[in-house]
């Protein structure tokens, strides 16, 4: 295995390493998808796996997403743990029926007798200058589908840890990989990959007392940047990285919001009908009397993902986040 750098490593490398280690540890783990074998994936995330484990363990499938996920279902029925790659977010849509009608429900349908331990890796989000259909944020669809876990890392270490956890999960996991963080680097050491907590635990990435930014995936670094910039305005912002949208970590989120009394949810996905609505609503249900202001949302606009030359206007950036923080009714405080 020559493709994994020692340190610093990119998120893409950490993901590769997670699959490699999972495949080495468990012969039932199979990777499959378009171009994942010989090429190592269009983002090179499966680089070297076919060479190390053979094409039967890391398989270039025919070009048909429903077929890929549908055959993965059958493989899982026979005791394998398929890790399926969807080449881009929008190209997971042909597999929607298999995901909704079977993957998410088979355990429930069979009263637990036929679990489907499938990991569906979906590179998602924008900011990479991709042409149409290459920058969707489709997490709202998956969140609204009971029976699926929805997981998304924001750091190199989490990429490794959460993918290992996802592959090991006996439930199906939609594993959303923030495309524009693929090449983000960290001094994570692949030879001693840190254990991560089980799926479903959010983490406070930055402590703060003024207000809480709640975010995940590609927007985590943006929020951290915003928190830095906010210091100049006298705000001490807390940043929570959800890491998993399903299960949702009400405990960590609510504890933070109760402390700060103010919250902004930040994500790239369109605002209307996006994850932020659920998050804001549950916080409000649980922490109403702790809130000094409504939970605000900073999200992509309610439009099809824009062409690359305009995407920067669509994506939640530092200024838009700070503008939202400014609207958190500070005057009410006294």
């Amino acid at each position: 295995m020559t493709t994994v750098a020692v340190k610093p490593a990119t998120m893409a490398q950490a993901l590769t390493r997670a699959m490699r280690d999972a495949m080495a540890a468990d012969p039932t783990v199979h990777v499959m998808g378009e171009d994942v074998g010989t090429l190592g994936g269009v983002f090179r995330v499966t680089d070297g796996l076919a060479k190390e484990f053979g094409e039967d363990r890391c398989t270039d499938t025919p070009l048909a997403e429903a077929g890929i996920l549908g055959t993965a279902v059958g493989m899982a029925m026979y005791g394998l743990r398929p890790v399926v790659e969807m080449q881009f977010d929008a190209f997971a849509y042909p597999a929607f029926e298999q995901l909704i009608s079977h993957v998410s429900r088979m355990r429930n349908r069979t009263r637990g007798r036929m679990p489907l331990p499938i990991t569906v890796r979906v590179p998602y989000g924008g900011g990479i200058g991709g042409v149409e259909h290459h920058s969707d944020s489709s997490e709202a669809y998956y969140m609204a589908t009971p029976g699926l876990h929805v997981v998304t890392p924001a750091t190199v270490a989490d990429a490794y840890g959460l993918l290992r956890r996802s592959i090991a999960s006996d439930d199906p996991v939609v594993f959303l990989e923030p495309k524009r963080l693929y090449w983000s680097k960290d001094t994570w050491n692949p030879e001693q990959p840190t254990e991560v907590e089980p799926i479903g635990r959010a983490v406070v990435r930055r402590a703060g007392r003024s207000a809480t930014l709640i975010t995940y995936g590609p927007s985590v670094p943006v929020c951290l940047e915003a928190a830095e910039a906010a210091q100049a305005e006298g705000w001490d912002l807390e940043v929570i990285d959800l890491r998993s949208l399903v299960p949702f970590d009400d405990e960590t989120v609510c504890a933070a919001v109760r402390r700060t009394g103010r919250a902004v949810v930040v994500h790239e996905s369109t605002g209307f009908g996006g994850p932020g609505g659920e998050i804001a609503a549950r916080i409000t249900e649980r922490c109403f009397h702790h809130l000094e202001a409504p939970v605000l949302r900073v999200a992509g606009f309610d439009l099809p993902y824009p062409p690359p030359m305009l995407e920067r206007h669509h994506l939640p950036g530092v200024d838009r986040i700070l503008d939202a923080v400014a609207r958190l009714q500070w005057e009410a405080e006294g």
């Binding site: 094409e55 048909a64 549908g70 029925m77 026979y78 069979t110 299960p247 009400d250």
Partner: protein, 381 residues
Amino acid sequence: MTVMEQRGAYRPSPPPAWQPRMDPAPLLPDAEPHRVLGTEAIAKADPGLLRRLYTELVRGRRYNVQATALTKQGRLAVYPSSTGQEACEVAAALALEERDWLFPSYRDTLAVVARGVDPAEALTLLRGDWHNGYDPYAHRVAPLSTPLATQLPHAVGLAHAARLKGDDVVALAMIGDGGTSEGDFHEALNFAAVWQAPVVFLVQNNGFAISVPLAKQTAAPSLAHKAVGYGMPGRLVDGNDAAAVHEVLSDAVRRAREGGGPTLVEAVTYRIDAHTNADDATRYRGDAEVEAWRAHDPIRLLEQELTERGLLDDAGVEAARQDAEEMAAALRERMNRDPELDPMHLFDHVYAETTAQLREQRALLRAELEAEQDEQEGGRR
């Protein structure tokens, strides 16, 4: 060597040197559906098997009739009857070994039962106390699939996985004529052929998809002709000739088991009943057509053949009838009992571990049910 490398590659060679490709002729189905009953081929048929088929057909018909009756009594939410198609249903189950897998469509309760699944558990979905009633691993039968064609890729994946593990397991997947129009049919057959997976696809062409006749579903010479586009053999069979269906399926299963790859079988049959008890078939077809097919009834065809060959006498007919009646009585008895329902089970199998969120909701429902109970006992809210 990987599975992928085991078979010859189809590659466009650089013209002008064009390499001759695979000859499609062996993949094409015969012009006539294969028949055994009433033909010379019957000579080779195993009398024991024929008698077994007969018993199962009679049971199957009785099952269809009983289940339909149960819908009228409100014991089933709905029942899609396979009356007239029993030869396909029974032969599909009997063509498999124990270690093989069956992937039924929503109409194939009979095949599920013929494979050994408890006749009442097979009806759970249609009774409505749960989605799937049987343990898929007990008899290696996937859940009845409501969304059409979606179970075909499952069959391919399972067969492929078995092959990778070195198990000589075959998967047989069932689908209707209408279902062949779905994209999943195409993708499943293509994956199967590329992977040379040990799968048999059985299309029951019963002439209709609910109200839509085959002519509005396809313009192909036959559904079996679709096989050539995937590089697998297509076979046409008279779906009301149980011996013929059994033979064609058994051949395909054997071929798959020996590494020969997938086969597409089209069985030409007819749905005698309405689509389900909720359907009104008179809206889209005439009696004459139904009557013509009744004359080609699978049980009658086999009964005739067996009787003529001296393999069945009145006592045999009566024994089969008797056996079927017993099954029906037992089924009736089972289905007339109310199923045990515990609403709390709603939350049990959504995830391997019930999430905090679902625990909250379970507590809510429990409180509601307790309040309901109190109300019923105490009198006021």
